[in-house]
């Protein structure tokens, strides 16, 4: 007892109390990471398909997603019994993806061997047993076993056909459309020139000839596409759902299928890997609730790269001025505080500035001067990747200035003095001695800026991010980089799919996976920065100067 009082007097419980605060913080971080990882990583794992026969005789089949106590105060089983959340799929048949089933209503639970999980182009997955394969009126395979044999070949061919169709649609017809649009703008520009009194008859004839040629080409390509589509669209696979409804699916629309209850561990792993890879390289489908996130990853990386190209020279120049050239006095101190504090100004404020200044003022001026033929459709006068990158560059330039300044200050005085004593000018010293020595520090600043830029969403929402960008900002058309285009972004993708999507429940797991990708990028960048910074400290601690 005495010991306890003594320890109370010494304040030991308070030490434990403060420790608890830290413990809670640590648990929160761990908890957050665990929530994201468990939800995100399990998304692609092929779960078993369970068929439930209910007491009222109805049958349903699906993946068991989760369970919870029945939270219905009026229900007799309120909080006493569990209910199961079943992902039944077949949205086109049922109209919903998920269904709650009270445990008490279940009469029988089994795992049918032939149950298939089919990923297709629309309406989410199809869950059912394969029945037959049909081409036109001809039946190619009948019965589950026969279809199972035929399915892998069908799916492989469907993938080839799809890419063939996409090649024509996106690339060949896309090229033609792009050319026609360019010619249309050219003709508009000729109109404008004509209204200024220039003679444009000859050029106009050229443009019209080219347009006619492109339109003819467009026609042939469209015909070719129609033929191809007709040729490949004739194969149908019929499935029967758990409650006995038959559903025919064009084989062209099947992306992946597996017999969920027959898979070995290796099979599951390969499905998992395949899905993860597809998620990484594919574009989104069905208003972003299906398919992959490649355009979002691409947009994020591209935007961060453009931002880095802008922010490094700006930040280093400002830091050089502040540290090496400016007279150290009150003014520089004030400027330093101001720059420091700019890092704390809310990102949305930068977004507002980007919208008002870059998009409306600068972009509007560029449009009026250089793209009058496209007006009133804005070219640069609307959000785009360049404006977003510039806005983020402004947002992150304080980070680069501050860490570059620190890095410049950390370069030992003796190094500079040695250089100057050898007769080098100040600029030569900076260029050949100070900057190389400070490079790792500047790099740290850049990496931190990139990490911040990759994670910011609010300013992008105002300056050019969209939920679905039809084209990447880089493609094969001159000038290859299209800085005026809108782009997709991982962070905005999370917000959009998680909160604006029509089918949040179905899209949620996908958002967790997207979150993992975003976190991976941000955490890796930060870790690199920390490692570089520590190396740098070591280097100057043990430096021989």
């Amino acid at each position: 007892m005495n010991a306890l009082v003594k320890s109370w007097r010494r304040g030991d419980p308070m030490v434990w109390f403060t420790g608890s605060a830290l413990g809670i913080c640590i648990l929160m971080i761990v908890g957050l990471v665990l929530v994201i990882l468990t939800n995100g990583l399990s998304f692609f794992w092929p779960k078993a398909l369970t068929q439930l026969t209910l007491k009222d005789g109805s049958v349903l089949m699906g993946e068991l997603a989760s369970s919870e106590p029945i939270p219905n105060p009026g229900h007799p089983d309120h909080l006493q019994k569990q209910r199961l959340l079943v992902r039944v799929g077949n949205r086109d048949v049922y109209g919903f993806d998920f269904k709650w089933v009270p445990e008490g209503d279940i009469a029988k639970q089994e795992r049918p061997r032939d149950a298939y999980f089919v990923e297709r182009r629309e309406y989410g997955p199809l869950l059912g047993t394969p029945v037959r394969v049909k081409q036109g009126d001809k039946i190619l395979a009948e019965g589950a076993a026969a279809v199972e044999l035929a399915l892998p070949g069908l799916i492989a061919r469907a993938a080839e056909d799809r890419s063939a169709i996409e090649r024509i649609e996106k690339h060949e017809i896309g090229d033609i459309n792009y050319e026609i649009e360019r010619l249309r703008l050219e003709s508009r520009a000729l109109d404008l020139a004509a209204s200024r009194g220039q003679d444009v008859a000859e050029k106009r004839a050229d443009v019209e000839r080219a347009t006619a040629a492109q339109k003819a080409l467009f026609q042939t390509k469209t015909d070719e596409l129609a033929q191809l589509t007709e040729r490949v669209a004739g194969t149908w696979v019929a499935f029967v759902t758990a409650d006995g409804q038959e559903k025919e699916l064009r084989s062209l629309d099947i992306y992946r299928s597996y017999a969920a209850n027959q898979l070995t561990l290796l099979g599951r792993l390969s499905v998992y890997g395949g899905r993860l890879w597809a998620f990484f390289i594919e574009g989104p489908r069905e208003s972003n609730t299906e398919g992959g996130i490649f355009p979002a990853i691409f947009g994020t990386v591209m935007m961060v790269i453009i931002m880095s190209i802008i922010v490094v020279p700006l930040g280093v120049l400002a830091a050089l001025y502040l540290r090496e050239y400016a007279k150290q006095g009150l003014l520089v101190r004030i400027v330093r505080i101001a720059v420091n504090n700019l890092a704390g100004v809310p990102s949305i404020v930068f977004g507002v500035f980007g919208l008002g200044f870059f998009v409306y003022t600068v972009g509007g001026t560029i449009d009026a001067l250089f793209f009058p033929e496209a007006l009133p459709t804005p070219t640069f006068g609307t959000g785009g990747i360049l404006w977003a990158a510039l806005t983020l560059a402004l947002l992150t330039v304080p980070v680069v200035i501050v860490s570059s300044e620190e890095a410049l200050a950390a370069v030992p005085r003796s190094m500079r003095e040695a250089s100057l004593a050898m007769g080098a000018t100040k600029f030569q010293t900076i260029l050949r001695v100070v900057l190389p020595a400070a490079a790792p520090g500047i790099l740290t600043g850049l990496i931190l800026a990139m990490a911040r830029g990759a994670g910011e969403v609010a300013p992008l929402m105002l300056t050019g991010v969209v939920k679905l960008a039809p084209e990447l900002p880089v493609d094969g058309f001159f000038p290859f980089f299209h800085f005026d285009r809108k782009f997709m972004h991982l962070g905005f993708h999370i917000y959009d799919v998680g909160f604006q999507s029509p089918n949040v429940e179905a899209a949620k797991p996908m958002v967790y996976t997207t979150t993992i990708f975003l976190l991976l990028i941000v955490v890796l960048l930060n870790l690199t920065a920390i490692v570089v910074r520590n190396r740098l400290r070591e280097k100057y601690k043990t430096g021989a100067f």
Binding site: F17, G23, I24, M28, L32, Y325, G351, F353, A458, Y495
Partner: protein, 765 residues
């Protein structure tokens, strides 16, 4: 020659060459000085330009309206009537107009583009003029003869014109403009006067003294005053059935003006300062008589929407009246005087409402004009007296001009620009009595369903929401972050510290969209289901962690020796986990025992608080999560940089580590803590994505932790994509951004200054 033969250069030449090279290097150096100075200054100025730009976008909100007189259009140019003189002469005229009065205009109007304006002349002709005053054409009403025009009116929208005759008839017309385009450019308007019917309204064939007429979806309503107090109502149904009513004021009060309001209501103003209000549907009913002035009412007009009536009297007083249900259990609406305006000093001769917003222009009988805004009560623009009496005034449809018709038939034109009439400091930050509200309130509502919707731009609910969210976040974050930092810096073993710090730093880099997503989609639903365990955790988690000390004393000595001081955290983390498990376990029991089994129902009945799923508790936790690492890092830095010799001295004198922490470290580092909290505050104030995703974004003024809010930043993110460039909403959102900028900049500057002083102090110790 030197090039031809590779002979060694002469010393003179080498010196010369070197001198040239050195000169170039020096030039380069000077150039670099210029370039870097210019570049550095430019970037710093460019970054500070952000503030200037946002300010310059927000400032036009407060600029007063501008305008200038554009001269007087003389109607002498109206040609004499084309009717044969005989017809005029033989017409029976009880109140025969003198020839000089023949062309005197009664009502005027203009088109949307101000290409034309038209006037109804007292002989029944409608004359169209180009804006420069040249006569364009005229249309003669065929139905007027043989009577004379006694009064006329024009509806606020759609140019419905009514003529009251001297023999008790009413002629209904509509003036229409049809734009003609060539090459997508407006070239001209086609003008037309269509007849909408003739009604014999007064059986006694008295002259119609005052008239009002409007149509809505093809249903006509016309109201005429004959004699002193006879109000005659004519209206048609959807199927064209005609209804006629005769109404009277009390005690034979003389009616000065009648006007038609929204949803089949009418008001009549009298010379004793009363306002009568009738409902026409479902049956005719005198709903209210209210005294609005001690003077005769000389002008009354509904502003856009037909709900609020602006009343002007013979002394120049102006006030706005609309009807509301004052108490919830009232069955009837009552007139309230919501606004009063700066008096004009002379008889209010006419009021001209805007067709775009709630602005109106009031004309004094001496020709003075004041442009005002109904809700903000601002006098936007004043034109001094012209000494020419005005009897009718209108605001052009695009709000870019005023036309004032003088009694002598001339029209004075004014050009105005009033882009943001609804904004004033009071409208942004004060309580404003909006149309239909029972009392002045703070409201933010930027979009509405109808054309006559009034935008309400009170920043107060948004500032309130920002402060509320920030406060709850800090309430959660400050204790955790500062106590955690104290433990990390003072008590923790350095080997763990080296791991904990970077972890927390990475936590600071966690994108807020991720935190917001987890808060909105994962945490919110779990907190809703497990609200009692969550509340219990707030107590149980620290309690279990602290109680670890009891366990510590009972641990086998062998094990205790392995754990050096500063390793308590290894025991604390599992204990805190245990606390969480216990909270979940006893949660339902507590809920059943204390809150009748359902916390949300209990909160509703006992505290009258509605539980929203996305509420402030969730935001507090999520935003706290985002703020903790910032406060933690700065606090830990300031704890750690307390000079070692101070703590060493304290410990050497026999103080325990807790006593040292409380009496030596904490006071020395307290300015650093303050600055940590300030910077955390700055971050929470501007946080956008978390609030956007984890609250319902409803702008309410309510401190309850169980409902949501809307913050300045989330409001900007939600609304600016839809705000038209340069509009009032756009500029108001820039003002909100400016407020955020200033708030965070101010707070951060203070924090930074404190940190610098602290650094200097440590150097001195």
């Amino acid at each position: 020659m030197a090039a031809a033969a590779p002979a060694p250069l002469s010393i003179r030449q080498r010196v010369k060459e070197q001198a040239f090279r050195i000169k170039r290097v020096k030039q380069m150096d000077r150039l670099a000085v210029g370039f870097i100075t210019f570049g550095g200054l430019f970037i710093i100025v460019a970054v500070l330009f952000i503030f200037v730009f946002i300010l310059s976008e927000a400032l036009p909100l407060f600029r007063p309206a501008t305008g200038q007189a554009r001269g007087v259009v003389n109607l002498a140019a109206v040609p004499p009537p084309t009717l044969p003189p005989a017809t005029v002469a033989t017409a029976p005229a009880p109140k025969a107009a003198s020839p000089g009065e023949l062309g005197k205009p009664l009502v005027m109007g203009t088109d949307e583009y101000q290409l034309y304006f038209y006037e109804l002349l007292s002989d029944g002709r409608t004359a169209f003029f180009k804006t420069d005053g040249t006569f364009a054409k005229e249309v003669t009403s065929t139905a007027l003869a043989p009577s004379k025009v006694a009064s006329a009116s024009r509806s606020l929208t759609d140019n419905f014109v009514a003529i009251g005759t001297d023999d008790g008839r009413v002629l209904l017309q509509q003036v229409r403009f049809r734009p003609r385009y060539e090459n997508q450019k407006l070239v001209d308007l086609e003008t037309e006067v269509s007849e909408r019917g003739v009604v014999e309204l007064d059986a006694a064939k008295r002259p119609i003294r005052e008239i009002a007429y409007d149509e809505k979806d093809g249903r006509k309503t016309a109201i005429a005053v004959a004699g002193d107090d006879d109000i005659l109502v004519y209206r048609t149904d959807d199927d064209g059935t005609e209804h006629r009513e005769a109404l009277k004021t009390r005690d034979g009060e003389k009616v000065t003006r009648v006007r038609i309001g929204r949803s089949d209501t009418l008001i009549a103003a009298t010379d004793r300062g009363h306002l009568y209000h009738w409902e026409l549907l479902p049956e005719v009913r005198l709903t209210e008589v209210v005294k609005v002035s001690n003077e005769p009412i000389t002008a009354v007009e509904y502003v856009l929407g037909g709900i609020t009536a602006i009343v002007g009297d013979a002394k120049g007083n102006l006030s706005a009246w609309f009807r509301v249900r004052l108490r919830e259990d009232d069955t009837d609406l009552k007139f309230v005087k919501a606004h009063e305006y700066a008096p004009q000093g002379v008889v209010i001769a006419a009021i001209g409402p805007s067709t775009r917003d709630k602005s109106f222009v009031s004309a004094g009988s001496d020709g003075s004009l004041v442009l005002r805004h109904m809700t903000s009560e601002r006098s936007l623009l004043e034109f001094p007296s012209t000494q020419a009496p005005v009897d009718s005034v209108l605001l052009t449809p695009k709000m870019d001009g005023i036309l004032a018709k003088q009694a002598d038939g001339k029209v004075a034109r004014y050009e105005i620009s009033s882009p943001h009439p609804e904004v004033s400091w009071r409208a942004l930050f004060g309580k404003v009595w909006y149309e239909g509200y029972t009392k002045p309130e703070y409201v933010w509502q930027s979009t509405g369903g109808t054309d006559d919707f009034e935008t309400k731009f009170s920043l107060v609910p948004l500032v309130f929401g920002t402060i509320k969210g920030t406060l709850y976040a800090l309430l959660f974050a400050i204790p955790l972050a500062i106590l955690g930092a104290l433990y990390t810096s003072q008590f923790m073993h350095p080997s763990i510290k080296a791991r904990v710090k970077p972890t927390v730093e990475i936590m600071a880099a966690l994108p807020s969209v991720v935190v917001g997503f987890i808060a909105g989609l994962w945490l919110a639903s779990r907190v809703e289901r497990e609200i009692v365990p969550v509340l219990l955790m707030m107590v149980l988690l620290p309690l279990f962690g602290t109680l670890g000390i009891l366990l510590w004393d009972r641990l086998p000595r062998a094990f205790r020796d392995r754990l050096r001081p500063g390793m308590e955290i290894a025991l604390i983390v599992p204990l805190v986990c245990l606390g969480g498990v216990v909270a979940v376990w006893i949660g339902p029991l507590t809920e059943a025992a204390l809150f009748g089994g359902d916390f949300r129902l209990w909160v509703k009945s006992a505290l009258d608080v509605v539980y929203d799923q996305r509420n402030c508790l969730v935001v507090g936790i999520a935003m706290g999560f985002a703020v903790i690492p910032i406060i933690f890092t700065i606090a830990e830095d300031s704890f750690s940089s307390v000079p070692q010799h101070l703590t060493a001295a304290s410990l050497a004198l026999g103080a325990s580590r807790w006593q040292t922490a409380m009496r030596v470290v904490l006071p020395t580092a307290s300015p650093g803590l303050f600055s940590a909290v300030m910077i955390g505050f700055g971050r929470a104030v501007g946080e956008t994505m978390i609030v956007l995703m984890a609250t319902g974004n409803t702008p309410v003024l309510d401190w309850s932790i169980f409902n949501g809010m809307r913050t300045l930043s989330a409001n900007i993110a939600v609304e600016i994509p839809e705000a038209p460039y340069g509009g009032t909403l756009y500029r108001t959102l820039f003002l909100a951004a400016l407020a955020l900028f200033l708030m965070t900049f101010f707070v951060n500057t203070i924090a930074e200054l404190i940190r610098q002083r602290l650094r200097d102090r440590y150097r001195a110790i």
